[in-house]
Symmetry: C3
Subunit: 493 residues, 3 copies
Amino acid sequence: MVVKGTKICVVFFLLFVAVFATVSFALSDRHDVMFAEEEQDVRKMVEECHQSCQGSQGEQQRPQCFQTCMQKRLGDRGTSRGRGDPRRPERTRRTDRQQHQSNTPYVFEDRHFTARLENEHGNVRVLQKFTDRSELFQGIEKYRVAFLEAEPQTFVVPNHWDADALIFVANGQGTITLIEENSRQSNNIKRGDLFRVPAGIPAYLINTDSNERLVLAKILHSVSVPGDLQFFSMGDGNPESSFYNAFSKEVIQAAFDASSFTFLYPKIHKFRKQGIFKKATEEQIRSMAGKEESRIWPFGERKERGTHSIYKKEPSVANENGVLHEVDSDDFPDIRDINVAISLFNITRGSMAGPFYNTKATQVLMVTNGIGSFEMACPHLSNQATRGGEINPTYERVSSELRQGTVVVIPAGHPVVIEASGEENLEVIGFGLNSDKNEWFALAGRDNVVSQWEDEAMELTFGYPASEVKRVIEKQSKKLFFKAPVRGGRAFA
Amino acid sequence: MVVKGTKICVVFFLLFVAVFATVSFALSDRHDVMFAEEEQDVRKMVEECHQSCQGSQGEQQRPQCFQTCMQKRLGDRGTSRGRGDPRRPERTRRTDRQQHQSNTPYVFEDRHFTARLENEHGNVRVLQKFTDRSELFQGIEKYRVAFLEAEPQTFVVPNHWDADALIFVANGQGTITLIEENSRQSNNIKRGDLFRVPAGIPAYLINTDSNERLVLAKILHSVSVPGDLQFFSMGDGNPESSFYNAFSKEVIQAAFDASSFTFLYPKIHKFRKQGIFKKATEEQIRSMAGKEESRIWPFGERKERGTHSIYKKEPSVANENGVLHEVDSDDFPDIRDINVAISLFNITRGSMAGPFYNTKATQVLMVTNGIGSFEMACPHLSNQATRGGEINPTYERVSSELRQGTVVVIPAGHPVVIEASGEENLEVIGFGLNSDKNEWFALAGRDNVVSQWEDEAMELTFGYPASEVKRVIEKQSKKLFFKAPVRGGRAFA
Amino acid sequence: MVVKGTKICVVFFLLFVAVFATVSFALSDRHDVMFAEEEQDVRKMVEECHQSCQGSQGEQQRPQCFQTCMQKRLGDRGTSRGRGDPRRPERTRRTDRQQHQSNTPYVFEDRHFTARLENEHGNVRVLQKFTDRSELFQGIEKYRVAFLEAEPQTFVVPNHWDADALIFVANGQGTITLIEENSRQSNNIKRGDLFRVPAGIPAYLINTDSNERLVLAKILHSVSVPGDLQFFSMGDGNPESSFYNAFSKEVIQAAFDASSFTFLYPKIHKFRKQGIFKKATEEQIRSMAGKEESRIWPFGERKERGTHSIYKKEPSVANENGVLHEVDSDDFPDIRDINVAISLFNITRGSMAGPFYNTKATQVLMVTNGIGSFEMACPHLSNQATRGGEINPTYERVSSELRQGTVVVIPAGHPVVIEASGEENLEVIGFGLNSDKNEWFALAGRDNVVSQWEDEAMELTFGYPASEVKRVIEKQSKKLFFKAPVRGGRAFA
């Protein structure tokens, strides 16, 4: 009887254990379900957030920082609006040296170019939407960045985007042709040229050179959904890649008054190479290149769409340590409506530019050549005028290595220094977004803004006699470009 | 004893079962609580999302698509920013034929006019906020669409909105009067006229005709909360419907220096018909109509607020298959600040317009008369430059029936075809939003953009000799409007 | 044996109870975890939401209102976009009298100035981001409000913001100096003056008076992240408070070509008073004040940055009950690009302004002196054109006490009345945001808009003979400013 009683209770015990296990599983299951439902890049965003907390927060603030990351996961976007946390430089650099990567949201590497289109003759890489990286970039949300590379003697099929494009030729030479209702305009382009392709205007491109790759750096300003881009082409050999294919056959045939429409649906298409980059013959190149004038169909209208060389004007600053060329809408009126200005920094090896800052524009820097680094002063989030509490202004350093293809965003007002390595010159193209009435101010060297203060202002601010302050700030005789510090073995201290 | 032991264990077993049931209920309860807390229209949004997934995604992509819908429910808006999924046309049409409804977010039917104000003399219908339908419409978030219909001899009481309005008279005739501090301006309006009512300007309207209904199609550009509209009127017989009623009585009496303020608080108000639409006598109509000139109070200022007929200028395109009238800010400077251009398509029965596309403007099409259909080429989301991965541009068809009152949004850059049915002409008014520097390009027929390509471009793109390509694309001699395909029995294939 | 069996079952029972307790705890734990993860200000937002529901909703609508608040907590922001609920005035006032606080989102008190920077010589208070208070303010998201107070003979160290500032001198006198690359411009400022500090331009300020506090009211228009502000200064004695400190020492030394950079890292810094407000000696004041002309460095460029007195032009309206001064971009072209207009109301005690409304601008009112109250007519949310259903326009009263430092937001189109108390005059500065083409219309008194209606319009709208309507609306002979109602004991009825 005891045995039976024991058996029954054992049975109950086992049942009980089974239930307990089930319940526990259900409880954790819920959690797993929530995780499973998270999209890949939200998880990535949270990872980056955690790393930033570890990197930048003191012991006290880390729990609250993690809490902010947690809320991002739960979808509470209310708290994610605001400045991100700058990084503790030492931690970042250690990670950098290990991974050749940067976790600060201001730096974009190859892996952040999330949309690509390529074949053996060329490629287009589009940087992810800025606000997908961080809410810090809401102010430049409508802008996108892209690079295009075309091998020698390559033709890019006609296409249009729902975004205004401003394009800088970083390398090589070619011919760009813009198509309109009753006209076509071709321009030869070469290294240093800027040109515009307005939204919706079909354009095609050829790399006319036999040896050099044609490299274009582009800023795109979306006109439809802010920050989103849509690409439209009439085909590349693959019927599905043409937007004509989206219409019903009867409609296309009625539109073209044709009973057959073979060239959109080629029988032998499987032998056609796919992709928007096509190899052109020398003959075809010769025929298309070199047409500087617009070919105007009878009675058509001719609009001004030209190119502008960044080297046309004298450099704004030039000394043995570097050269700065600038283009704004006074120089090139085509760019007035997209509100972008262009700066080209050529920093001699072993030299640096800055510190300087832009008053209004947020500058997107793209490294076209060389190796170097940058440092930026970032006001510390938790003490700034976005949330509660006493403003105790402190500044953290954001820094990273720079190499060809790196993209860095420097927000308005933020002081920055760009250094070239000891071995190579560093060439950086900067697109200043929202640049209307922008000015840049040097914070050291000749014409720096501190030198304009009245003596009393210097004394009251620093607590030193004005003469002593001026002695220090007026010593450096160069403007903007200086000899960089000598660094032992590493790209930055 | 065994019996007792058994009894106890049975008791335990029952207790255990009870607990298990409670726990299970608690677990599921949590889930139900979450559902119960969801607002009605979030659920609707998710429904539409699910349907779109079923309609458009291949087997492989459906789980991820459902996941996106799930995240919307959990409030993760990060993933909902971006293009929606275009629909598989067959599935959509089957649903359409069954329900006379369209699930594509680009098409708005009567049920999407979520705010209404009506009595027996007229009605105002306002289309839901665009971004309540889909995040696709962020770029036009500030714009709202509305229709007003007034029966013959109806007066609409003075009112103002916190939005700039651009109004097209789709049918009938009447008189519109705008009120300012020291002036009043009346204009007669008739079918085809456009006029502006700036934000905050009080206006009243009468349908002066004895037989015809007055029908107005409106685009509103919000000036306060983006995409939100607020309506202000001084009353319609019901004291509560006047904003004066919101102030305390003492304040109103002090403001009007009056001890009584009867006309705002009529004793016999219960006999007053309510609503902003009032029947007017013939005498009143005669008295108010026909005053083309501004009546200027002594020493007041007169601003230019006039009307402009869409028929004033020659049509942009006209042939036996259709007529296109266009108005932009060069024709009618009043519309420059709200950045909208107007197109009126009159497509003969059995004919079609397009394919064509707008380079910059997103076009909101409103069907004022007739029956037809449209097709639009939509780049496929998962392969475009908004998320990760290789761009493999493909295009899906978005299509739907069109009938009086249907509203369709055609984003910038997207090629579209509009067809009239075989029985009736189709009249469509199109408001081009964000239209500064917009152009439209034909993709077939005379002056189509492909015909501007150089021969080599045609060969390289299509893989056919240029002569053959040109033979096809130059066959159609008409411009924009063509004979539509003959369709057996259904509005579209 | 029974005893043993009983013992075992008792053991099992206890185990079971233990498990049950654990499971229950785990279930509730989940809930607590979710709560614990909520950020402080989300909870505050929800509290305010709940209070608003209680205050404004009828019995029927409260559950749905609470549901909306619940969704905010769960992070579903989709539903929080739209107008907030106006308050039932009685409930608000009862709460007000008890707490001297207002719960309506349109009124901001001292506790809403969430960022502060102060020492014994002065303080800067920055109002929270508008959209942190309510989604109602999306249209003015980019604007921020701040007050600065400086004690007599105080110097504010040079600093720049990433926002354009428009500043009104509410009290006192001083000198403002703007710094540029090759120039410096000083202007004396006094009560009633307006001046601009563009984004990124360093500026410093001194209170030159010996007795009076210098009080500035500021509107800031962010140029980087919408609605976020970043503050940059070169230091205040504390090395960490200078952005130079963010760069590595080697970089700074190389930039300044200096081996030592003592004045940034003073040894005796612990004796330096911290903070951006510094006491200046009489000598220093005398030296810096009174330099009206720009001091131009050789060959530098001089830009126009001046001040403009709001008293320069004749008042727009003036009678025994009040005075209104206005400044727009025609008067002061510097303010054209930030799209703000300024109004200064000086309402005599026992008098009131309005009702009136702005056609396009959202007006931010800041009380600089005195005590009073305001009433505003707010269209009732659930019946307006943002969600579904029949528009049945009704209006609710939003009202509150006003005292020095109170900030009130009056959206475009909304009628408002401002009353001074019986004891003191009320002085209110109003910044009209998005003010391009804005006009204000009186709704009572001389030149009110109703008086412009045609007779028939009056009859049809109110159902009374026009003569009777006109008799009432033309009785009040004053314009805009009237004698206020006499109120017994309380600031508002």
